[in-house]
């Protein structure tokens, strides 16, 4: 896993963005950027260079689930791994996220260990898929 990969953290609460970026820094990821909802995030993603998207679900403007769909619908972004970190914990919502093509789903409140595990798992899978492809 490339520790210099460019990560976009999307959450409407500045405190949550700060917490996630701090946790990522502890895990060795320093190339992190932030946006406060899907409408701000999408142009940044389209601007290019991002390797990984971590987003909240419930945000004003464009919600995380719609951002995920927009990413999957864009030929230039469709392969980007996406991790949802959200307080939305209904089973039907998790199913919807899976159908929309999410790579990982973390329910808030969460621990640093959970974040690490999910990121590791996402990139292990990508590495395995690239190896077999």
């Amino acid at each position: 896993m490339d520790k210099n990969m460019k990560i976009l953290v999307v959450d409407d609460f500045s405190t949550m963005r700060r917490i996630i970026r701090n946790l990522l820094r502890d895990l060795g990821f320093t190339n992190t950027h932030e946006a406060d909802d899907g409408n701000t995030a999408l142009p940044m993603l389209k601007g290019g260079g991002f390797d990984f998207l971590i987003t909240d679900w419930n945000m004003p403007g464009m919600q995380g689930i719609d951002l995920l769909r927009a990413v999957r619908a864009d030929p230039a972004l469709r392969d980007m791994p996406v991790l949802l970190v959200t307080a939305e914990a209904r089973r039907d919502q998790i199913v919807i996220a899976a159908e929309a093509g999410v790579n990982g789903y973390i329910v808030k409140p969460f621990t640093a260990q959970t974040l690490k595990e999910k990121i590791d798992k996402i990139f292990e899978r990508i590495a395995a898929n690239t190896a077999t492809a």
Binding site: N22, A89, R90, D92, I94, V95, I96, G104, Y105, V107
Partner: protein, 237 residues
């Protein structure tokens, strides 16, 4: 009602309108309506009565008037205050933590350095004793400063939690206000309408719309991360 009769009523209605006879106009309109859909008219009448009663008691109920006029806008401000205070506290805490973390790393690096010098010393390495002495001297001088920074950082984190006392009180008052409004509103609404409202409310909301943290355990809600993981694994993610 046959067409002829309706036509007759319609003609009479036009005549009543033209002659400006309001009472006759109303009578004919209600006859036409009633024959057309007695149930609808009855329902409309019920709603009108409800609204009328509600309006009358609203005007006479000074308590409810006060609630809507003053206390609800006040509650909005209070809740904004809660958001503001808790956000401020979180940033204060995060700032302190960001300042403390490198200190820990610094101490760890120092410890490693000393450890390796001690190893060299026991291995009889040349000049290791001097180097260890220098390192220990530096360590003891920094440890005082680091301890002071740790103490002030931790106390800052502690003080940042004071918001909870303030926001807790504000939230309690707001909950109290909401229940008073609820009780007053329920008093205004007829039991039938309330039952219909409850029924509509029970209808499922779209899962697309985010609902925020689950505050109550529920079959539909996962209770821990491992449940999410299991569900996703079932779905092949």
């Amino acid at each position: 009602m046959n067409t002829d009769h309706r036509l007759l009523l319609a003609r009479q209605l036009v005549a009543a309108l033209e002659s400006g006879d309001d009472r006759e106009t109303d009578r004919l309109l209600s006859e036409l309506n009633e024959r057309h859909s007695p149930q609808l008219v009855q329902q409309l009448a019920e709603i009108a009565r409800d609204v009328h009663d509600a309006f009358c008691s609203l005007v006479s109920d000074k308590q409810l008037l006060d609630l809507t006029k003053h206390e609800i806008p006040d509650a909005r401000d209070r809740l904004s205050y809660v958001i503001e205070k808790s956000e401020e506290a979180t940033h204060r805490t995060l700032t302190a933590i960001e300042a403390l973390m490198p200190l820990g790393e610094h101490l760890q690096a120092n410890g490693r350095e000393i450890g390796s010098l001690v190893q060299q010393l026991t291995g009889g390495g040349e000049g290791a004793a001097d180097a260890l002495g220098r390192q220990l001297a530096e360590f003891t001088s920094t440890i005082g400063a680091v301890s002071e920074q740790l103490r002030s950082g931790l106390s800052e984190i502690m003080m940042a939690q004071e918001y909870q006392d303030l926001t807790g009180q504000v939230i309690k008052r707001t909950i109290d206000l909401v229940s008073r409004v609820e009780i007053n509103l329920i008093k205004l609404i007829s039991p039938e309408r309330l039952a219909a409202y409850e029924e509509r409310r029970a209808e499922k909301l779209s899962p697309e719309v985010g609902r925020g943290p689950a505050i109550r355990a529920d079959e539909e809600v996962v209770s821990q991360q491992s449940d999410v993981d299991d569900l996703l694994a079932d779905l092949g993610v």
